[in-house]
Symmetry: C2
Subunit: 258 residues, 2 copies
């Protein structure tokens, strides 16, 4: 494998962090070796997986070339799942990285030793809600992008923008091989017309790229981060846990089918 996947969508609050943390945990449960990279200055994935922030311990140092990524990787409470944490200071990084040389490729270069070692089956990157420097860095250093979409109207509006950005990265040569790993519908509440309409619209637009697994809206999913636990640890029998396990199965099936 050794595949790097950015979990990105500039629309805020669509479930990027929730999907990063829980898909990573469910893949690790299926004995895949996974590294979760928290590239968001909010550091939600870092706390959501139960790891404390350490000043100077984030990927920020590696993006500016001060530290080797290997020194920043920490284990989590989940077997086969490691984390490269974020820190709140990363917010200052956007400007520092923007002014550095080869500013779009700092992430790819920092990650190169980990890629070469090929220790991980999957490297998942939780991105901030923007198409700024940090997300563009992640996309330039990834094999594919996984796009969580909330089953709501505003979430539809940004789809053409992300598609355009992917096209630009490919055409400009910044990352010619960037693929769409898939689209995950999140916070789906089948009782509302709105959710059904949004899913129909997304399927019309992205076709087979849309995962069949729909992640339902579930309070347990929003409670788990306050305990620093993925859903399969916090409440393994709830609908949220079943949905992310299902997503991990579908994700691996699609990978095998290539």
């Amino acid at each position: 494998h050794n595949r790097v996947i950015s979990i990105a969508n500039q629309k805020g609050g669509v479930g990027k962090t929730t999907t990063s943390v829980n898909l990573a945990a469910c893949l690790a449960e299926r004995r895949q070796k996974v590294l979760l990279i928290d590239l968001d200055p909010q550091a939600n994935a870092t706390s959501g997986i139960g790891v404390g922030q350490r000043e100077g311990g984030s990927i920020y140092r590696a993006l500016l070339g001060d530290t080797h990524v290997r020194e920043l990787v920490v284990p989590t409470a989940i077997e086969h799942l490691d984390l490269l944490p974020s820190e709140v200071d990363l917010a200052g990084a956007e400007i520092d990285v923007a002014r550095a040389d080869r500013y779009l490729h700092r992430f790819a270069e920092a990650l190169a030793p980990l890629r070469a070692a090929a220790h991980y089956d999957f490297i998942l990157v939780d991105c901030p809600p923007s198409l700024g420097i940090l997300t563009m860095n992640a996309l330039c250093g990834s094999d594919s992008i996984l796009i969580p979409i909330q089953s709501e109207y505003y979430a539809l509006e940004g789809l053409t923008v992300i598609e355009r950005v992917i096209g630009q990265l490919r055409a400009s040569g910044a990352n010619p091989r960037l693929e769409i790993e898939g689209i995950v519908m999140t916070m789906y509440d089948g009782r509302t017309n709105l959710a059904q309409q949004v899913v129909a619209e997304v399927v019309k637009h992205f076709g087979e790229k849309v995962f069949e697994t729909l992640i339902p809206r579930s309070v347990r999913l929003s409670e788990a981060p306050s305990y620093g636990q993925p859903i399969i640890v916090y409440d393994k029998h709830c609908t949220g846990a079943a949905a992310y396990r299902q997503l991990a199965r579908e994700f691996l099936k699609r990978r095998k089918a290539g």
Copy 2:
């Protein structure tokens, strides 16, 4: 009045746009003259209020000094409510503005003629989900910040960061008079413990700054943007409309009490 208020929170999906559009409409309904500025490249407030995007018609032009803000203001279907629209291209603006002179004060300078004319009682600015250049510009040019907070765990984590940023803007002289207008709790579902715990935590932290009006989670609020209508037009009798009308009343009462 003539007060400029940024509606900001770097956490994504907390209800910034929903609050901007609906508070603006409810203030206009109470015969306040309101200008809504969409500073988010996603342009959600622009479509949420039913205005189409026009290439070159966004505040982006004014931030770079190419056009006068007055030429960019358009009326909306709501009496007493005007809009300064966004456009998807604004995403490119972050980098252009970052490289311009006085890059933190482009918004304040562009807005100066409108402030001087004192035609509006309130100017509300819908910000993107980040503390990058566009949001910092809005904060430097505002009298106060209104912070919507989703009644969820991850939303709590970013509070200390915003407070730090406000303190830095005041202390550095970038905007010594920036105040906190208030905190609005959004998507509140009183049946969950989580929501109650989060509200208690926010009140402990911000005390009286927290508006008593809690905006409930309501599907009608998430349906309204697909019709390009604020909630008081889409479904004037629903709980979402009552809540935002209540918020507008409380907001004006606090302003009068000064």
